[in-house]
């Protein structure tokens, strides 16, 4: 067979030892926080039926699904007059963790005790055009609670974000909005279908100024009364409490349109309760209401979250919100949930950029026994075994080689201790260990594992 120059599909990555150590550090930190809040891990298969996936991510999303050719002879009974793709592919690779989670909840509803608190850390696949920071295979890390409408769930998500980034030593700002408030704005502006346009306008004020925003709103077809309402919204200033009071007045018929928005008022109640709970529980990161926040707008029905690193420019590193009908499409309506997703790749980039990985993360082996000959090799095997059984990572160089080569190996693997033993040590029943960082060298009775452990620690 001809020799092949090996490569991997574009947009995919190998993770070597260093990347894995760093990624495991991030995932294990996140996992440990999720666990202290009583969230439990589940996993779903990489392949889902296309009937589960299609139509959930919009037309654009459907195009980005990786489809799997039916096994056996996929083309055996095909009607070539009809579109082929749907005839030869019944399964696709999971595109996110949200739809498989909804499918899971419905399929296993009788085994689940609600409120159901789960997390899931698995790769997803999208046939996006690969570019810097965008991959065709990447991990998502989702935490959701489903089956409770209480704002305590929103609070817990905020607390978990705070705890995760506290542990990772990343300073973050937590931005919170509420979809019902945005709906309220559109309602009192007399344009309930223009939620997105109005949210975008709120976001643009700083950049383009009030006049341009009003112009743009007129272009979008907003009437004069509506534009006046937008102007009132954009003039909101002051503390959280002052803004809340001003919005309550607008929603209560006090806006230029005089329209009352019950939805908007409900949204304010939710925001007020959530911020009260955050104050009662105590959260270290700054949390602010951000009326321009609109991620996944057509999907969320209550709280909307976004988290940004304060010391590294990279966009959102975590986000999510409340959804009221995730499982409806699979036949289980009216199950409200709320969740957030941690962006593993971006968090990785932030930690790398700010040099926040703990020292020693990439050091995997503590002690290397250099090997001078077959007898010396056998001599150290029981010592190596005893240390390993105490959890110390020990390597025995597999064959007698030049010491230079063995030292190079220790150096490349960042191994901080080396043990070199010859006939003298064998006779004296000792092992000689050198700290390659400090230069300190000491001999120990081969049987005194405790003393060796102390020297290595």
């Amino acid at each position: 067979m001809a020799i092949q120059k090996p490569s991997i599909p574009k947009g995919t990555r190998d993770f070597g030892q260093k990347e894995m150590a760093r990624r495991n550090y991030i995932f294990n930190t996140i996992r440990s926080v999720f666990r202290t809040y009583g969230y439990q891990e589940i996993q779903t298969p990489a392949q889902e039926n296309l009937s589960t996936l299609m139509g959930k991510y919009g037309e654009e999303g459907d195009k980005l699904l990786f489809r799997i050719l039916n096994s056996g002879d996929a083309f055996a009974d095909v009607d070539f007059e009809k579109p082929l793709t749907t005839q030869v592919c019944e399964k696709g690779l999971r595109y996110d963790l949200t739809v498989p989670f909804a499918r899971y909840v419905v399929q296993h509803q009788n085994e689940i005790s609600f409120p159901f608190k789960r997390f899931q850390i698995q790769p997803v696949w999208r046939a996006d055009r690969p570019q810097k920071g965008r991959y065709r295979e990447f991990y998502q890390c989702d935490v959701d609670v489903i089956g409770s409408r209480s704002q305590v769930n929103e609070l817990e998500l905020v607390q978990m974000v705070d705890a995760v980034f506290g542990k990772l030593n990343v300073r973050v700002g937590i931005h919170i909005n509420n979809r019902k408030v945005l709906t309220g704005f559109a309602e009192i502006a007399g344009a309930p279908d223009k939620v997105v346009d109005i949210t975008v306008a709120i976001d643009k004020l700083d950049k383009i100024g009030l006049d341009k925003v009003k112009e743009e709103m007129a272009d979008k077809g907003l009437q004069a009364d509506g534009i006046a309402v937008i102007e009132q919204i954009l003039s909101l200033t002051g503390s959280f409490e002052e803004k809340l009071a001003a919005m309550r007045s607008l929603f209560n018929g006090g806006s230029a349109s005089g329209i009352v928005s019950e939805t908007g008022l409900k949204g304010l109640d939710e925001l007020e309760e959530l911020f009260g709970l955050i104050a009662a529980a105590g959260v270290s990161a700054p949390v602010e209401m951000d009326l321009s926040l609109a991620r996944g707008l057509n999907y969320y029905t209550g709280a909307i979250f976004e988290v940004k690193a304060l010391d590294w420019e990279i966009g959102s590193i975590c986000g999510g919100g409340r959804y009221d009908n995730l499982t409806g499409i699979f036949g289980l309506p009216d199950l409200s949930g709320v969740g957030i997703s941690f962006g593993a790749d971006r968090i990785y980039d932030v930690l790398t950029g700010l040099d926040l990985y703990p020292a020693g993360l990439e050091q995997s082996t503590t002690l290397l026994f250099a090997v001078m000959g077959a007898d010396e090799l056998r001599y150290v095997l029981p010592v190596a075994k005893a240390l390993r059984s105490r959890g110390i990572a020990v390597e025995v160089y597999p064959e007698p080689s030049k010491l230079k080569k063995q030292f190079d190996y220790a150096d490349k693997k960042n191994i901080p201790f080396i043990s070199i033993n010859g006939s003298n040590e064998m006779e004296a029943k000792t092992v000689n260990i050198k700290n390659l960082v400090s230069g300190e060298q000491k001999a120990f009775p081969a049987s005194d594992i405790e003393a060796i452990l102390e020297f290595l620690s």
Copy 2:
């Protein structure tokens, strides 16, 4: 959109919280042992180019590859006169971890320091017909060292098997053979192309008896001299050392054919060295030479391993061997390696069958704060936070509900402690905690986290 009854593709599985806790226990045990031997984790993408995968698993394996339809319009430039599959699919899902590992080593050879000790725990996909215990998506758990011919590597694999199953409390037997010895048998039987037939014959002696084995060998085309050699091999008895001496004599021209096998002698040297190292290092599980062991015969070139559970009938739960040219097909010849693969699903079944999971594995939350009202909820939030920051898994029931419902929730989630607090506790600044297993109940100052921790431990 019509409501869909959700399901997953046949041969795939969802893993709920209980399964995940058990699987993580197995994987983390294996991982921790690999680490104490200096093996480091890598991951490769789920999708590989079909050019990497094809032709590596035989004709049957090629048919079992899951192929991914090219993205965009896969059928746009297709020549319908030619086979379609190869035109519309360039990528496939990984079928095992071995070929991606070989591809990885060649692709990253300049970054790797040899001997390269890696492990990899990831799912693989095969379009096999699903049946009991056989899935289309399942995890493999491979550990290999590549770039060293020393038997110390074989020793370490045996030690790791011993340590893993020791930690899991599964009694196992470790079977070892050597491909060179099997080659030697075929050579001195004058039939170097009949390695498999001869190995099968050795294995059948107990079941069908010597005469039938000889008959079968004659049917397979073995000459009289060769059959006489087989008879000599089948008559090998005694201790490991006695068998070794007898085989050495056969390979040295002392067999009925008088043929000398250098390969067979080399195999005996390797077996002798490995068993010597095992004795020097000390291994708890019984290790035996098993001349009938032939797994992956066309692939292995030296040691062959197989591990069986002694107390549960399930076949091999772990196996592997040495290979000398894994990376040759990708352009890096003469790189010898040795590795084993742990069968996660079978190990799971053994632990389940023998009831060997540690107590408390499925208990994820330690303490539930029941909630009677909005004030009581806010009162316990700081206590919950303080306990969580000390690593205790705590849940706060998200809304005031009937106590019965909250107790049921604790019961279903196996939560052993519940805390119920009302106006009395709020006034006294205490929290009341009940051990649901022992019935013991105690009040603590809300600020005395240490005392609470002790009660929960």
